[in-house]
Structure formats: C-alpha cells, structure tokens
Amino acid sequence: MDKLKYVGKSALRVDGIEKISGAAKFIDDIEFGPGLLYAAIVESPHAYARIRGIDPKKALALDGVVKVVTGRDFPYRFGLYMKDRWVLAQDSVRFVGEQVAAVIARDKRTALRAAKLVEVDYEVLEPMLEPLGAAGSEPPVIVHPELGDYSHVPWFFPKPGTNIAHHRKTRKGNTDRGFTAADFVLEDTYTVPRFAHCAIETHGAVGLYDHSGRLTVWTASQSPHTQRHVFAETLAPLGLTHKDVRVITPYVGGGFGGKAGVTMEILAAALATSVRGSPVKVIWTREQEFYNTYQRQGVITKIRTGFRKDGTITALEHTLVWDAGAYVEYGANVVNAVGLSATGPYRIDNLKIDSICVYTNLPPGGPYRGFGYSEMIFGLESHMNMAAKKLGLDPIAIRKKNAIKEGDTLAYGAHMNPNGLMQSIDKAAKAIGWNKKPRPSGPDKAVGRGIALFWKAPAMPPNASSSVFLKFSEDGSINILASAMEIGQGFLTAMAQIAAEVLAVSPERIRVETPDTDRNPYEWQTVASHITWSCGNAVRRAALDAREQIFDVVERGLRLDRDALYLEKECVKSRTDASFSLPLRDFIINGIMQEDGTFRGGPVVGRGMFMPEFSSAKSNPETSQGGHPNVHYTTGAGACMIEVDRKTGRVKVLKAALAVDGGRIINPSLAKGQVVGGLLQGLATVLYEDMRFDSKGRLLNPNFTDYKIPTAHDLPDEVIPILVEVPQPDGPFGARGIGEHTMIPAAPMIANALDDALGVRIKSMPLTAEKIARALGGF
C-alpha cells in the first residue's frame, strides 16, 4: 500500500476533549429555558387489548397540566420499511408498554403524576407471545388484521390474514440433489432470545413547533435525515412539509442500532404540534428504555446441512422464524438481511433459506448491532462445530474447506468481494494459542477452545447515500458538514483523517460536528457499519472536489501548470518548481489578486456524494436470485480459550481474539475500540444477559439490577484485537466497516469452547452458569 500520512494512524479523537472534560452535550443536557414542557406517557399494561375509552378528566384537573393527547389526535401510521406503527395506539394495544396517551405539563413530576390519573378502559385479550404458534396457519391471534393495507418497500412480502409480516426466500441450486450427494446430514434447532441494547444514555427528544410553522426536533438519534423524513411524512396531514422540519442531533450516548429509525422521537415531534410555541421534552427512563425501544429479535432456527466425508458442504436448508414483536417496520429488514446471507461465510451451491418475520405481542424488534447476523451465526457456527465433531474433522479445517473466496457466488447470485477470511481464521486461532491448551487451574475446572467465523453486509436500501460539504475558513482550517452521526464509533475523527489525507491539512485543523439537517447535507442513517465506507467516500470526493477547485484557482490566478500541482502541509506546491509554495490561507476564501487589482477564485467549497449505483433489491421473490442487495461483506473470525467450573457452570474467558478485515483501517485505535467493546458486548449476550418475560408478556427485568451488562470486572483475562487489511476496491483508501461485526462470533465461539471443554452442547442462549451446570447434570 502507498505511504499515507493520516489514514492508518491512531489520530486523537476530534471529540475527545469535549467528552473527557464533561463539556459534551447530550439530548438531556441541552437547556431550553423555563418554558420547557415535559411529556409523560400513558402506557399499556396489557400485551394485547382493545381500547374501549380514554378519560383524561382527572389528569387535566391537576395544576400545571397543559394538555392530554391520545391516538385520536394523531391517527397517523409511520415506519421505515413498512408503515405498521402508530404515533399513539388507536383501537388496540399490541405490547406491554405501548404508548396510549401523553400528558404534557409544566414540570416533570406533574406530568408523571397526571399520567397515572389518565383512565384507560381496556378489553383485555389473550396475547400471542411466541413466534412458532403465531406463524402457524391458524393462529389464535392476528396481531395486524390490516397488514394488507400497509405500504412497504418492494422487497418485503407480507402475508395478509396471517402474522407473517415478511418472508424472505432464497433458493439456489438443488437441495434434494445436494442432500442425496451428502455422506452425512446434520439437522438441529437453535434458540436465541431477545436482547436489549442498553446504551448508557436513554432515548430522548425535544420538539418545538413555533409560530412560523417550523418544527424543530432535537433527538438522540443515529439518523437525523431519516427521522426528518419520517416526521415530515407522518405529520403531513397537519400541513408540514420537509422544508418545515428540522432535526438537530447532539452527541449520542451509544446507539448500537437502538437509536436508528424512529421510535419514541415521533412523540416529541407530534406533541410539539399540540403545544405550539413551547418546546416539549420526552425522555425515556431506564425502564422504558428496556421495554419501549427496539429490542433485538428472538429467533428459532432450524439448520439442516449435508456434508461429504471430507467436510465439504453439499446442501443447506436454513429456516429462521423470528419473534419480531408488535411492530416490524424496521425489524422486518433484519429478517430480510439474514434471509439473504444465512449461509454464513461459506460457499454453498445448493441452498434453501426461509427467513420469516412473525408478529407477536411483545416489544417491537429492530436494528441491533449485527442486524440479525449474531442470532443466525450462533446456530450456524455451532452447527459447523457439531458436524466437524461427528465427521472427526478439525473445526478449523472444515471451515477453511468451505470458506467463501473472492469471486464465489453468493446465495442470491452476486459475487463475493475481496476478503481476508482465511488469514483471519489463522490469526485468531494463533492468537489464543489454539494448539496450546493451558492446564486447568484446579480439579473442578476444564479448559476448552472455540472458534467461529462471521460475516455481515450492510443491510440498506439499494440507494442509501451519503453527501458532504467541505468548507474552509480564512486560516485554512476546514469544516466538514456531514449528516452521519457520532455515536461513539469515531466517525467524526475518521472523516477528518480522510479529508486530511487528500488535502494535506492535519486532522487537528479539521472540525467535524454532529449534524443539523438544515445545514448538513443528506445522509441516509448511521447504521449498517457503512459510514466509514459510504460517508468516507463522500468526504473523499468532497476533498477531491475542493482540491480540484484549489488547483483551478491557482491555475487561473497564477497561470501555473495544474498537472504539476500538489498539496503538502496546507500549501499548494509544484513538482516542476521547488520554490513554489502557496499557503491555502492566502487565497482559500479571498482568491488570488491579479496585477490589475482584480481577484480570481473565491471561497472553495467542496462537495461530495456517494451512492452505490450497482446495488439493487430487485430479484425473484421466490428465490432472491438476480439482485445485488448487499454492497459487500466484511468477514472475520473469533476464537477463545475458556475455563469452565464443572460444578458451578461458571465460564471464565481466558483469551478472546477477534480478527476482522476492515479493508484499510482508517484509525487503528478506534478500530481496536470496536473490537474490544463489541467482543465484550457479544460475550455478555452468551454468558449472562437474560431477558425474562412473564406469561402475560410483561418484561420482568427492565433494569440493570436484573439485566446484567458487563462491568470492568467482566473482561476476559486477555482480549486480542487483530486488524486484517484486504482492501475493499470501492472503499475510501480501501476501507470497509467493522463496527457491528465484532459482536457476531462471540456466542458460538463460547458454545463451541464449552463443547470442547466438557462435551456439552447447549443450543439455546444465553449459556448462563445455571444452564451449564444443569446441562452437566449437577442437579
């Protein structure tokens, strides 16, 4: 690779000092003055019920209550990929916690007290709480009887009259022939429950509908432009157009997908229109964060794989039935994405994938780091290990035998991009000492090693795009205006580094800040691990555009040969004249003065846009063949060495390594941060995060006391991040995303290591100590 000055270095975060000094402002930190109103939400205590009536009388009687609003005031549907969700419930509620009414008051406590006084008359119905029954041909409950009326993206296939919101079918080759050709067929079922994002900052939004008809919504969101679009569309009946709606997003305290799309923020937007002229704040408590934001869907997967004696996969049948919750406007795309990629990173010629999105009366499922791939890979990579065991093959060898290579045909017909999968496998295994199992530390302990491969592609509409403005100040410093979001991943810094590389201005002289949709140009969403690639490309193009303008000005202003010009240390230099060095600050705003006193040039403003024009969601609905729905895959492998206590079932992770191919790592320290953070988050899902619902669909542990997320004590003894670089041809400097991927292999690699240690195979998550001790026959 060519020698780069800024890309590839561990530049300091451009938002580092703000965050470390406590100056960084999040949604709840922004002051709106004494006129700020608060909204408290009246929530359904039932998983499924019809609303017979709502009486706000007692609430309105409280001093300080300004308004009480119900679904009658906002009978509007919204949704990202399918419009199946209501601003406030209409005739029925579909999950415990669903918003039914809102009380707007002068202060928080009054709003909360008043919310308790709103009387809702429910006709309680029997809820549908599990997906297999819900997916059946005659389910007792149809969660969305009007499914046939919902508008949706053309690549969804809902089945009206059922609870099936979408069914992605992928068919390739001939599985009958494939199974016949197999020496060995393994079939098994795996269960992955729901999980919570647990960003440390809860969701929040403030809406202000002023007297000029302008709606401004401040939100903790990963997707300001998409939010603006949804607000404008949904509230269009009130006379709002896009030009009237402005979304401003401050720093976000963790997203992990949970702050993508639109969930509770629609309430701030809608409620603002009820109290024109006053800002109204809606902030979620930690409990609400657990039960009324997106959750990671649960899934039951059935995998049937045919193998030859040497481990080659001859056929795969993969059925995934997803517990997608009460509203699937975003979650259905998770189901879709996995339906296209449920082969895992393997070359499989004969396959049949059915990924089925099922409505249930549980909280809405939605995007969560990994977008369904963690759930799918748990089953698939557990399955590969079991097959290896049965065939007497080494778990690494069987994977390498089938590992997908560049150019191989994917499940839906397109071709696999360049990737470092093979070297990731080798490096991860080596890092944990695959061939050097340590001795157990005591008589009750056993040591095991596990490996799991992973891959994931960004799941986006085929026209997801990024656009960027890049402008200079008089002193030659730069502002980059993009609408991607800093959710912790370090995107602001990465963009500064990319621009720095092109324009020879160091990242410390570049400001990149969180967006305002009025000022910053369009970005689809900060999801899918696609921002480094997509927005990075847009930034690079904007920088190149600026560079062209700079050379234009110098060419016209000084009559120099532009082909000889280059940039270095904030100056324009010439390859044919070593003495020429013109600082950008001398002309970047004001141009170059001519002899006659006139000027050439003017402010240089770079513009860049990136939208992949090869991506298409159009394919055969019965086979998924013919489209190019995924722009590329990021691949890698995770490996671990664990020690298990045979009596207590407690797992200690001695070493965990994760190798991921980022194409070209823009900032190694930030990339490593994604690996360590993602790995720990993944380990938590397999070892102790445990969502519990009661028989009426109520979440029993909506708090950190009983939904355990990792503390500093829970780190593995050693975490080894490995950054692999096999360039992505269409990525900025060869980069592709890695943000989500670092979670994906955690669960199966632990399950595999457990099997290696004790010969115990557990096919449902989480693998808590209790579950392991029980499987070991301890009690």
Binding site: K108, L112, D690, T705, T711, H713, D714, E770
Partner: protein, 284 residues
C-alpha cells in the same frame, strides 16, 4: 423515575431529637441513613412516608469502636469504611470479606451495615456474617437502650424486630478468640456487582466446631444448626464435606425467581459450603 410524593425532611442533631420525631410520627416516618435502599423505595413509590428522618447528623453514629471483647459498628458506618478499617481486617476479617461484595465502591461509600440489616432484604450480605459471629443489634428508644441478638432480628422479608419509635445505633460483634478461619461466599450471575442469589458465611473454630449461616435462600438468613451439629468435632475431609452438603436441603428453602432457580441455589449452596469449609480451615 423521580420521587413523586412529598415528605418533610428532618435532620436531628441528637438521639433525643431523633427519637422524639420517631415517636411522634411512628409508622409515618422513614429513617434515612445511607439512602441507597430508601431513596430507591421512594422513587418506586413503595414507601410514601410523611416524614424522613436523616440520622446522619447525630454525633457518634459513624464510628467503629474497638472495645475489649467486641467491635461496635455504628449505624453511620459505611461498607467502604468497614473495608478500610485495619482493625476490622485484623480482628473480624469475615465482616470485611462480606463488605467487599456489597454493590460497588460508589454504593459502599454510602450504604451502611446497619442500614443493610434494617432493610432485611432476604439477599442481604451482612445477615449470614453477623449470624455466624453471634452479633447483637443495639437498639435505642426513648425508654432506653437494649440489645437484640441478630438471630432474633430478622423476622421475615423486609421485616425486623425494630419497633416504631426505635432506632438502631450500632451492631455489636464480639471477638471470638476460637475462630481459626472464616469464609464468605456469594453467588452472583457474573463477576460484576450483583445481589446474592445464595450466600454462605462460615467460621471454623478450634476444637473442630463450625458456625454456618446461609443467606438469600430463605425468607431470612439463618444458621444451619443441623449442619453445625453434624460437623461438630469432625475434621474436614471429602467424606465429611459430602455429609455436610448432603444436609443443606434440610436447612434452606430457596425459591425460583428470575435470578436463579431453587434447584441451582440449592446446588450452589452445597458447593459453596464445601468450598467455603475448605477455605475456612485453610485447605484451599
């Protein structure tokens, strides 16, 4: 959720003032000490007192007093202070060991041992330890001071022998010279802070006598008298440990909840008892 219901806040400077307030408001007053329990209850709306009496201004409550035969841990002594006490580390290591497992350091800087036993939640960490050490709870009212052995302190989940108008001023823990070794084991779901799903406190004494108490596996923490009787006089061996752990189900009555099943709690109590005994007698 912020606290929605109002109350009067009082901060008496003396016992007399405090006791007068508690007498006056009887069941409508809540005692505020470290606050890590009460403030959550106020937020949840589980307690709606008319009056909150903050006892932290009363002189003399936040000391650890080492007397000839005992340590007096004042009501205001936090778990953090217990951990940092070199005297307690030396003379009552079991107390310090249990204190280290309570919550996190930020909680331990406020939460008190007396507050812990007054909350009497079944999973409390101090309970088993104080039972094993035969501690007394020192209670004061306007009628004077009296002590309640900790074995008679816990009456049920969140129920103690404290009567309205009374205040716990300290816990008195005797120094038992015969204790050779001790151990506190707590079952959590992972390495981070957790409420106990089961716990066991063990004191191994000279003459092969043992004191054992379980926590979080019954409505109140309890001394395992049957196991103690079985172990008395016996040297710890695999066979003896097996006999002891085989008797655990006669002592405890764990429940199944979202944190753990009763079977796993029983299973873990057996394991923790065996491992705890080994550790207490120095075999691990």
């Amino acid at each position: 959720m912020p606290i929605l219901d109002g109350f009067e806040y009082h901060r008496p400077g003396t016992f007399e003032e405090a006791l007068e307030l508690l007498e006056k408001f009887k069941g409508r007053a809540a005692i505020l000490n470290g606050g890590t329990d009460l403030v959550v209850e106020l937020k949840d709306g589980r307690k709606k007192p008319d009056v909150v009496v903050d006892i932290k201004a009363i002189a003399g409550l936040d000391g650890i007093t080492i007397e000839k035969g005992r340590a007096l841990i004042g009501a205001g002594v936090t778990f953090g202070a217990i951990i940092q006490s070199k005297e307690l580390e030396k003379r009552l290591p079991l107390v310090v060991e249990a204190a280290r497992t309570v919550g996190s350091s930020g909680l331990r800087n406020r939460a008190t041992m007396v507050g812990n036993i007054c909350s009497a939640v079944p999973c409390l960490d101090s309970g088993p330890v104080l039972l094993v050490l035969d501690a007394d709870v020192i209670v004061r009212s306007r009628r004077g001071e009296h002590k309640i052995p900790v074995g008679r302190w816990f009456l049920g989940p969140r129920k103690t022998a404290l009567k309205p108008g009374e205040l716990v001023t300290a816990v008195s823990i005797p120094f038992e010279k015969k204790i050779r070794g001790s151990c506190f084991m707590k079952l959590g779901r992972y390495a981070g802070e957790d409420l106990a799903q089961a716990s066991v406190a063990i004191a191994a004494m000279r003459g092969a006598k043992y004191r054992i108490a379980f926590g979080a596996v019954g409505p109140v923490p309890l001394r395992a008298k049957k196991i103690e009787a079985f172990l008395a006089g016996k040297k710890i061996s695999d066979k003896v440990l097996s006999g002891a752990s085989g008797r655990v189900d006669r002592e405890i009555s764990p429940i199944t909840d979202i944190r753990a099943s009763k079977e796993y709690r029983l299973h873990m109590c057996r394991i923790m008892l065996e491992r705890g005994l080994k550790k207490a007698v120095g075999l691990l």
